[in-house]
Symmetry: C2
Subunit: 139 residues, 2 copies
């Protein structure tokens, strides 16, 4: 019952539907976007009722910076991508979440942003398991 | 000659063309995107040769977190927007820069991202002066 340690926090239903759990970090749950078009991770700080980065406490902001750094470096190492895109938008899902995406020239949305581009293409369970294992090993 | 204090740093030519100088913070130059469709600020860490957030030193990352926090809060207060979008993409301009954008339901790209959406609509000089003054006052 990890949820019992995070008072009032419940994962947004749409985030829950679009992403799969990867691992717990100190502040965030690390999830993977179930979209095989891009290696795409999502970090969700386990804090109830927060919509903006600047609404986190200073300590939580420092933690998030540290964890984002770790996740982005690992994603770049694992994928060998040429650029990391990171962003906190929240226009549709208001619960604070940070996207970390591996981009390459010629990928489906290049050089535009991935958000809102076409339709999500789910991984096979074998693919998502393989990608997840690589990220876990790199962290 | 502020540039003399930032060894080797030169602002990317495209960033220079699309944005106007607003003020200097500790680590970043704060600039405004010359696009009246959205209140849109751009923070450029004055570090040469850096393309990814995770390539900044830990101290610079902490500074950037602090400055981003300050800028995002000020932009939200000044505009009364319902959501801040922040992101570091860099697919086109590789020099590290962080976007902080005020979003509202019904704005030109809502709820999608602003990057790559249609054509930039420059402010009149009166408009950009007015917006710039409000942000400076809020910081």
């Amino acid at each position: 019952m990890i949820e019992a340690l995070k008072p009032g926090f419940t994962l947004d239903a749409r985030l829950d539907a679009d992403t799969e759990q990867l691992m717990w970090l100190g502040l965030c749950e690390l999830r993977i976007m179930n979209d095989r078009r891009w290696p795409w991770l999502v970090m969700v700080p386990q804090r109830a009722g927060i919509e903006e980065l600047h609404d986190l406490t200073p300590l939580d902001q420092a933690m998030l910076t540290f964890e984002t750094n770790m996740v982005a470096s690992a994603l770049k190492r694992v994928t060998g991508c040429i650029k990391i895109n990171s962003g906190a938008l929240g226009n549709i899902v208001r619960q604070l979440h940070v996207h970390i995406i591996a981009r390459n020239e010629g990928d489906p949305a290049w050089p535009g942003p991935v958000w809102g581009h076409g339709l999500r293409e789910p991984y096979t369970s074998e693919e998502i398991h393989g990608f997840t294992a690589k990220i876990k090993a790199a962290l």
